[in-house]
Amino acid sequence: MADDLKIAVASSVSSLRAQSTRMRVLSENLANATSTASVDGEDPYRRKIVSFKTELDRASGASLVRVQSISRDKSPFPLQHDPGHPAADQNGNVKVPNVNALVELADMREASRSYEASLQVVKQAREMIGELVDLLRVK
């Protein structure tokens, strides 16, 4: 029976790992929210998107989660008028990254909520294992 609790811990740990990857990518997006190109014609930083996938662990039968892919957001770059910028075109417009700080922050909250929930499951599974082991103690 402790095996099932171990499976629970394994699923939660896979989730913690996936959520931290998501958090890393989100902070990369935020950090590069103003990274433009240095020459006209080049593209600025393109937003990254993380997607998850369920993975069945055949040995234990646990459904784990893993990062399926880190892809790029295909939405167009917004234009900003800044004639003095080195990457400005003939009209004085500069392509800026398609990163919206608000969206990234909301996504970050969601990631940390899922992370906390998984952490709670790990804590509780450990407590339950502890309770079972405590049965061995003669009171």
Binding site: M1, A2, D3, D4, L5, I7, A8, V9, S11, S12, S14, S15, A18, Q19, R22, S51, F52, K53, T54, S60, G61, A62, S63, L64, V65, E110, A111, R113, S114, A117, S118, Q120, V121, Q124, A125, E127, M128, E131, L132, D134, L135, V138, K139
Partner: protein
């Protein structure tokens, strides 16, 4: 000791609770996976009523029977979930509530087993 029904039922109950925590853990882990449907384990009553006969293995190469939770207890989609835009039906609130419930039930099982164990000890010590 296995002849005492209370220990056998307590054992089955603890196994069922552990399996339920594992199912909740996989729901929570897949809370952000597109298309994932929240699952729940069959109720304990139906598990008790169904006597499952396990196959014996005579060789290590034989397929191990009843390894995963689904074959041991039966897993069904959780009812009453709201589907999100991504096709995911996990609600973290529901999962946390079930987790808390399981914890309470497990404490009850260990308390009862402990109490009966103490009774046995006190009668055998005289």
């Amino acid at each position: 000791m296995n002849d005492l029904a209370v220990f056998r039922i307590g054992h089955d109950r603890a196994r069922w609770l552990a399996a339920r925590v594992a199912v909740v853990a996989s729901n929570v882990a897949n809370a952000d996976t597109p298309g994932y449907r929240a699952k729940d384990i069959s109720p304990f009553g139906s598990v008790l009523n169904e006597a499952r006969i396990e196959m014996q293995r005579s060789q290590a190469l034989h397929l191990a029977p009843g390894q995963d939770i689904e074959t041991r207890f039966g897993v069904a989609p959780r009812e009453g979930g709201i589907e999100k835009h991504s096709g995911n039906t996990v609600s973290l609130e529901t999962e946390m509530a079930v987790l808390g419930e399981t914890k309470g039930q497990q404490s009850a099982v260990t308390a009862i087993l402990g109490a009966f164990h103490r009774m046995l000890l006190s009668s055998s010590r005289g």
